[in-house]
Symmetry: C2
Subunit: 600 residues, 2 copies
């Protein structure tokens, strides 16, 4: 916020002043720029004196303006990168960051999560969001840094599947609150019954990226363990496709082990009860896979390792490296490297040879115990709970790897609004019109036949609501040929149909297109898996739709036949001179034969 | 890269081991998860013992894993955020960052830029890019930090229009080179003839975000001033819409004062000569406008200011604040604030009242001398130089403001491949078919009639080549109703037509959707201006297209008439018994009358 312009012009005060006026004219009418060119001196020799003789700044002056930029300053100015670009989105982002942290903490501590989200309106454009969990709590010494420092956290340096990964989210939410209301974040946390709860009020010192603690005291919170965060901010609340409500609903679908209480600004309360008492399988932290490590990173690792021999370095710092791989790699690398080479003394050229040798050596794929997909069964359960449809299917692809990071793609579909084809086959093989069910509740998740398919995107069980068009998942949907599965599909767009499509990526490191974690970057390996999963679901969908269409044709044929059978009955009655009961009997038999002769 | 799992399980070694096996089974077949649930103990009392009695981690253990994340580590892991997600894009991003810096430096120093870009293949997947400018050079003490530290620079803290703004770009390019090849960045720089040139070889210490200088020496570079950067990296080179070639071509269009020499990997050389000897008007750094400053920022400013009275604080730290505004604001704020209130002692409540009062007070719009648009004339010149078309038009909107940041939108269009309507009006008022010109060169910039319009996006004169669909400029194009201007326009897509569309935003702070600066965030004020500019160009385009269609109809009518005039001549000859010369004369007169009686 300091103004450097005086130094800019110290050396040539009058020129600068004169220039200011010419400049203004130029800004008003750019067409005048052309004439002034003619007036400029024709010689253009000494470089700095070029272009009308103006000399604006030299290297020394420019150097005085170079300075450090704190990461909090950077993100304050670029807060849209973190998802705080509009008051509507800000509220969602803040709730999301807090809920994600709560879920991560509960799972890490092995606690079945029960989370309460409250949103209260505190002014015309102001809301307070509060998120309270039954997690393990945060020890007092860490509260300041966890909530008051960007790029601080436990999840960044390890390879395991977590919702948070950057150490930015919740501090950024607090920073946004402070930016728009000036108010500090309030944190309540307790780690066990035997210890006091702590209450903190803090802001971030953005110029220095560190917490400013306004108040810290013991509190008589009645919860035995857990954390509560309250942030007041400028925001806007609204229901709909990208609302807090939708985020929470999708979170409940993707986290069947979560019980979630939600109080909206109108004080309406919803509870999503867990339908699974099992936590997601515990994920194991893994070491990097040698095939995913880039040369530069390996050089840094060689420099920093505590191992005193190349062989132990390879075995201990990487996953899937055993004695045989070590031997093969070192032999292939050559350059005088041996198993006993001292890691930090390995020069760039040798490291490069080593890196090349690793890439050429066959090494088993990384362990996938570090990722925990939702699984087809729970996906379908989740979908059924929240989306009423005719047909459900889910696929979990086998785990695979991008840039050395294991990941897994899952896709679930819910097709057909009840009363979509409008037909079903009874147990006796009859086709009948379906009863219409109360589909109002699912309106927002399954659209009608001429609307685009509703795509639900999830990354490590977190719903992604914004930047749909920039996301690899959307690209996967658009690039899949849905026509062959019976849907209408405009070129380069989302297919049309009464369908909800859920795509989930589980990974130790989800590559997002921005810090706000709204869309997945299009790594080719990821896109390929998404397409394969979609095709798998598509084929099943195709069968279902074809069956539906066949049913419909069949139904039409039959209703046609059934329409005329009574007339045939009358005709037969006249020809064969039947009694009325005989005629009715014949008609019934005829209908029966016709039904049995068909496939359904 | 350290592995924390031992601490994770220190307390319960055997359980953890047992769990590992159950987990694996669960991962293989999630359907088994259901059965294991039944086995879990039914009581769920002590929270940490929930869910099958597993206890994974508590608050104390979790605290031991919390740590700082260096900004370079963050961006190494998230290098796609900086534009280094594929080898193809990496090359472009690196060239772009270097060229942007060169242009900024030249303009700041008042030097007409002359830049040389060389790309050399050094291995199967390796390229070296070198960018050399005639700029002011960098003083020796700064070289390390400018190229070897993220978030360091001179452009972040000031409000003025520059290409770079974050202090990340060029260091990130070097970091990518080092990551993929292990090789340092080479820098040559000289600030004046009277001083030595310096040669530096450096890498970034990513764990600490600081430069590691491998070599620094005086060099006998023959350039009198300028900078040369060389980075070797894993990359892929390819021509096309998103190539280095296209970026350089568009840079030449948007910077008519630049002379650019380019040597591609096949050693083919192209030079784009400047067609304007005038530097863009110098932009003045401005102070923040009070209406764009958020409460949190104002509170921080109050704390940090050197001013000793509220009145001088308001006048000196903000733009457009004079004595009257100060009086009005302080009166409206109330809360016991006076002109003499000591800024750093103003509490949050008073600051909040002050902030609210500022928002309610009428203050003149920010000065726009801080932004320098290209101007319609130079846009059209630029387009003409590189795009051959029938019709050109450009609009520069008046400057306006988003979040207190002045910005200006410009749009230029080049419509119709020569030989598009295929018709033109001669000086004598005749319509004739046009000669087809060599349009091959413009193939990549103007497509054919059934192809989407080619959109060129620029921000502060820098072409944006990636993430088109996520960009506010694209949204503006899609949301404009092009049908009314005579183009085909599929719903929700780019309109079709033989047209190149250039959109430029000039601003003191361009809000990008990611650090890689590829797409513009959709601030409503910006989107509105984009639409207005597009509509303006659209109307002119509509007139042109209608005129073209009218011409075509006219031409058809006339050719129809002209076809029959000879027959009328013969008929008249027979009726009036004319001689052959008389008949020809009559036909000629008839044609003449017909041409004159029409509008064209």
């Amino acid at each position: 916020m300091t103004n450097n312009s005086p130094t800019l012009f110290d050396l040539e005060e009058p020129v600068a002043k004169k220039k200011k006026t010419t400049k203004k004219t130029a800004a008003k009418s750019t067409s005048k720029g052309k004439t002034s060119k003619a007036k400029a001196p024709k010689k253009e020799t000494a470089a700095a004196a070029k272009s009308g003789g103006r000399k604006r700044s030299n290297a020394e002056e420019m150097a005085t303006r170079q300075r450090d930029i704190s990461v909090s300053e950077f993100f304050t100015k670029n807060r849209h990168l973190l998802g705080f670009d509009s008051p509507l989105k800000a509220l969602l982002t803040a709730v999301k960051e807090a809920v994600d942290n709560s879920l991560d903490a509960c799972e890490e501590a092995g606690i079945l999560p029960e989370i309460a989200v409250e949103i209260t309106q505190t002014g015309e454009n102001r809301f307070r969001m509060a998120v309270e969990d039954n997690g393990p709590g945060i020890i007092e010494a860490q509260i300041g840094k966890v909530f008051g420092k960007l790029l601080y956290g436990s999840k960044f340096h390890k390879l395991s599947q977590t919702r948070g990964q950057q150490g930015i989210g919740i501090s950024a939410a607090g920073m946004y609150g402070q930016l728009t209301t000036g108010k500090p974040v309030r944190i309540l946390s307790r780690t066990s019954k035997r210890k006091d709860a702590h209450e903190y009020l803090l802001t971030i010192d953005t110029a220095r990226n560190k917490p400013d603690i306004h108040e810290a005291k013991a509190s008589d919170w009645d919860k035995s363990h857990g954390t509560r965060v309250e942030i007041e901010m400028e925001a806007r609340y609204q229901k709909g496709v990208r609302s807090v409500d939708m985020y929470l609903k999708q979170t409940a679908i993707a986290n069947p082990h979560l019980t979630l209480h939600y109080t909206d600004p109108a004080e309406e309360k919803v509870t999503y009860e867990r339908n699974s008492k099992e936590l997601p399988p515990e994920t194991i932290e893994i070491k990097p896979h040698p095939h995913g490590v880039e040369l530069g990173v390996m050089i840094a690792m060689l420099k920093e390792t505590k191992c005193r021999a190349l062989s132990s370095f390879l075995k201990e710092e990487f996953s899937r490296v055993g004695t045989k791989v070590v031997k093969d790699v070192i032999k292939l690398a050559g350059k005088g490297l041996t198993e006993k080479s001292y890691p930090s003394r390995i020069a760039r050229e040798e490291a490069s040879a080593l890196h090349a040798a690793i890439q050429k050596t066959k090494i088993s794929s990384p362990s996938t115990s570090c990722i925990a997909p939702i699984g087809p069964e729970l996906i379908i359960n989740g979908l059924k709970k929240e989306v009423e449809a005719d047909f459900y299917h889910a696929v979990t692809r086998p785990p695979t790897v991008y840039r050395g990071n294991p990941f897994q793609i899952e896709v679930g579909i819910a097709y057909g609004k009840p009363g979509g084809t409008g037909l079903e086959v009874t147990d006796e093989g009859r086709i009948r019109k379906k009863k219409k069910s109360a589909a109002e509740a699912t309106e927002d998740l399954v659209g009608s036949a001429d609307e685009p398919v509703r795509v639900m995107r999830l990354a490590n069980r977190v719903p992604l609501l914004y930047q749909q068009s920039a996301c690899a998942m959307t690209k996967g949907v658009v690039q899949t040929n849905w026509r062959q599965y019976g849907l209408q599909h405009p070129r380069g767009a989302i297919p049309l149909g009464p369908m909800a499509l859920m795509i989930h990526i589980a990974s130790v490191w989800v590559p997002f297109t921005s810090e706000s974690k709204e869309a997945l970057a299009s790594y080719p390996e990821i896109l390929k898996e998404i397409r394969l999963a979609l095709q798998d679901c598509g084929r099943k969908l195709g069968t279902h739709i074809r069956k539906g269409k066949q049913l419909k044709r069949e139904f039409e044929k039959r209703s046609y036949i059934e329409k005329y059978i009574p007339h045939i009955g009358i005709a037969l009655q006249e020809i064969l001179d039947l009694s009325e009961p005989q005629r009715d009997k014949t008609v019934e038999t005829l209908e029966d034969v016709l039904h049995k002769s068909r496939k359904f």
